[in-house]
């Protein structure tokens, strides 16, 4: 009964709540960026992916897991097998039990998934003042207009609060976050990460690169998908043309 009552209460409140959030969220439209991966022939930019991965490794990975991506997937970023082995080996994972029944630590292998910063969700919350840093593997698919959203979120922090707004401890003001009060401190700022390839080290560029990387992580088969699609649709168009001719031929003796 108890559960049912709670559920009915939720159902009744759902409709009003949704509109309060929709109306009171005060988030402006998300600005669109130029992405190399948009459009029917879009592809990922390997250099941007590598820079994005660097940002993830050096910054985001201290709070956010990416459990669905494996080191071997990094091949798509242009790394070769040895480089991937070396990257994986920088991390250690718990494995086991061995023949003696003990768990042991070993260096990560290319077949391992990215190592999570916290052993479980509660530990992640505890370390972040009660807010849970969500897994980033699917982030750009899990938000409307995801690639642009992540860019906007990274660049949307404001020091000057709108009039009358107060933040509690550990809260920050972000223009694009639903409800605006986010429990993630601004993770990036100008020149906070050094690029080896001479790309400018600005917040905007960082935001583009991390978003590029997260888009790939959420949708690793995008290039193959679009390439296959092109062939399939080309074939179908030709096939449709032929079938139309056949149909016309068959029907030509009618009326």
């Amino acid at each position: 009964m108890f559960v049912r009552n709670i559920l009915s209460a939720i159902i009744i409140s759902v409709a009003p709540v949704s509109s309060v959030l929709a109306a009171g969220g005060d988030t402006p439209p998300i600005p669109s960026q130029d992405w190399s991966f948009s459009g029917p022939f879009g592809t990922y930019d390997k250099a941007a992916l590598q820079r994005g991965y660097k940002i993830y490794r050096e910054v985001c990975a201290s709070c956010h897991s990416m459990k669905r991506v494996r080191f071997r997937n990094l091949e798509a970023l242009g790394y070769n097998e040895d480089q991937i082995k070396a990257i994986a080996a920088e991390y250690s994972v718990e494995d086991g039990p061995n023949e003696d029944g003990d768990m042991f630590e070993r260096a990560a292998l290319p077949s391992d998934a990215f190592i999570s910063p916290f052993p479980n969700d509660n530990a992640a919350k505890a370390a972040n003042g009660g807010a849970f840093p969500p897994d980033l593997s699917l982030m750009t698919k899990a938000r409307a207009n995801g690639s642009n959203y992540v860019h906007a979120l990274m660049t949307g922090y404001k020091d000057k609060l709108p009039h009358g707004v107060e933040l509690s401890d550990g809260q920050y003001w972000n223009t694009y976050f639903t409800g605006n009060k986010i429990a993630m401190a601004p993770p990036l700022m100008d020149e906070s990460i050094s690029y080896e390839d001479g790309t400018i080290e600005t917040l905007d560029q960082y935001a583009k690169d991390i978003s590029h990387f997260l888009t790939w992580a959420a949708d690793p088969y995008m290039e193959e998908r679009k390439r296959t699609g092109f062939k399939v649709i080309l074939f179908l168009l030709i096939f449709a043309g032929v079938m139309y001719g056949v149909k016309r031929r068959i029907w030509s003796n009618i009326h």
């Binding site: 049912r4 759902v14 929709a22 899990a142 096939f239 149909k247 009618i254």
Partner: protein
């Protein structure tokens, strides 16, 4: 299925089989030489397209089921593993996911075709009703399928919809417990949903076979709505319609493929890429697009139905049956009819006002005597809106089938179609979204829900009684020839 003597086949193997089980004869009669009206337009392609989609869904579904795990802890991960680690898994899943939408697109067009050209009328009532049953089964299958990936929308969509059943008096609670397999949506819910999601498509196949069987008894309707009278009016199904259907299916697949390969997630909801979490309610719970018109009807009923409204509606129903539907009243005279009309509408309006103004001092307070709560009323309206399709052949008993020869019906049919789209839009928006002044989304939904029911219950019976209709051509062949002559001249 005719009793005509069997013709021998030249091929000895075929003949050997056919003389023992006349399956080749059946295929020849039903798909080879089957006499089909010669004047189909492109709307007649969508049956074959729906059949193609059903086969596609079953084929891709079985492959998905090989890799899917029905366990609340593993379901989301197993779907992501299909997307990332199974060879071609992303393609299979995107075909299945977008396939549900394109299946509904095909079926909605198919249903529209049936309504516009009067295909539901005698002698095809049962064929039509079997179609409505397929539609209901599809809705159940798609709803249950959407729960399987166990994302946020899966869980919360299932929560909203299964909770509706609790509004049914007396048995509601037990039905919900049975659906859930417990006292909340949890692992037992997911496992039974998976079992049902595997089962229902094959039930659909069964009903589709009955649907086609019934079709082959009555033969197809056509854009003129005339029965074929002579051999000149028909063509053998093969090769004329096999070639036309084949072409139509390929064109349909092109649109389908654009979604699969270039915008595979456009028809879905981003929240379903967040693993289900019973502690976090998504800000905006919306069903899949193909349910939106019905979701709007569900939410439009925000008032209780008290005894005044029910009595009023009852009297109006008696009036409609006696004076409009029967054409000649059987039991009542004109004065009584007038009384029914005035009393019925008066009571219904009074009941509605009484419900909206709970402060009114009226005999037997409306709040106390509302046998149908707003929630149950919504559920009744939602299922009723599909139930109306079942009795459509009796609501519209005009002798002319095709809207081509019924100008008034045609106009209302077009308005009806537009209003279903508007209902779909209303279903996608928050209930209290304001359009202008006091006019909000609930009111929009209420107006068009009202029109939906009026179309079936008032407009169609009135039209069948009073619409004259245009003169019908003598035969299909004649109409086709005169059109060809006009085009040639």
């Amino acid at each position: 299925m005719s009793n005509a003597p069997r013709e021998k086949f030249d091929n000895t193997v075929v003949e050997w089989v056919d003389s023992r089980l006349p399956i080749f004869t059946m295929m020849k009669n039903e798909y080879g030489v089957f006499p089909t009206p010669r004047n189909f337009n492109w709307f007649w392609n969508f049956g074959a397209i729906a059949m193609f989609m059903l086969i596609t869904m079953i084929a891709t579904g079985i492959v998905l089921a090989m890799h899917y795990t029905a366990d609340t802890k593993l379901a989301f991960d197993s779907v992501e593993r299909i997307m990332r680690d199974v060879n071609g898994g992303w393609l299979i899943r995107y075909i299945h996911m977008n396939g549900a939408s394109f299946f509904f697109i095909a079926v909605y067009i198919h249903i529209f075709r049936g309504m516009y050209y009067g295909s539901y009328k005698a002698p095809r009532e049962l064929l039509w009703i079997l179609g409505v049953i397929i539609f209901l089964l599809m809705m159940a299958t798609a709803f249950i399928g959407y729960v399987l990936p166990w994302g946020q929308m899966s869980l919360w969509g299932a929560t909203v919809i299964t909770n509706l059943f609790s509004a049914i008096p007396f048995v509601g609670e037990s039905i919900v417990t049975l659906l859930w397999g417990g006292f909340s949506i949890d692992n037992p819910t997911l496992t039974r949903f998976f079992a049902l999601h595997y089962l229902l498509p094959f039930v659909i196949v069964g009903v589709v076979l009955l649907h086609i069987w019934a079709l082959h008894v009555t033969g197809s309707n056509n854009p003129l709505g005339l029965e074929p009278k002579s051999k000149k009016d028909t063509l053998p199904f093969h090769p004329y319609y096999t070639s036309k259907d084949f072409f139509g299916i390929i064109v349909f697949i092109i649109f389908y493929a654009i979604f699969i390969f270039y915008m595979p997630d456009a028809l879905g909801h981003p929240d379903n890429y967040i693993p289900a979490n019973p502690l976090v309610t998504p800000p905006h719970i919306v069903p899949e697009w193909y349910f939106l018109p019905f979701y709007a009807i569900l939410r439009a009923v925000t008032f209780n139905m008290n005894i005044y409204m029910l009595a009023g509606l009852g009297l109006l129903a008696v009036f409609m049956v006696e004076f409009i539907w029967r054409h000649k009243p059987k039991y009542l005279n004109g004065f009584l009819g007038f009384l029914l009309l005035v009393l019925g509408s008066g009571l219904a309006v009074f009941g509605l006002l009484a419900d909206l103004n709970q402060g009114w001092e009226i005999p037997m307070s409306a709040a106390n005597l509302a046998p149908i709560s707003a929630k149950f009323g919504g559920v009744l309206a939602m299922f009723g809106s599909i139930g109306l399709l079942v009795i459509l052949p009796w609501l519209d008993n005009h002798p002319i089938r095709s809207a081509r020869f019924r100008p008034l019906f045609r106009i209302f049919m077009i308005i009806f179609t537009i209003s279903v789209f508007i209902l779909g839009y209303a279903g996608s928006q928050a209930a209290d979204k304001v359009y202008f002044m006091e006019f909000n989304n609930t009111m929009l939904a209420q107006i068009f829900t009202g029109f939906y029911f009026m179309f079936f219950l008032i407009i169609l019976p009135l039209l069948s009684r009073f619409e004259k209709g245009r003169e019908l051509p003598k035969s299909i062949n004649e109409a086709v020839l005169s059109k060809a002559q006009k085009a040639g001249a």
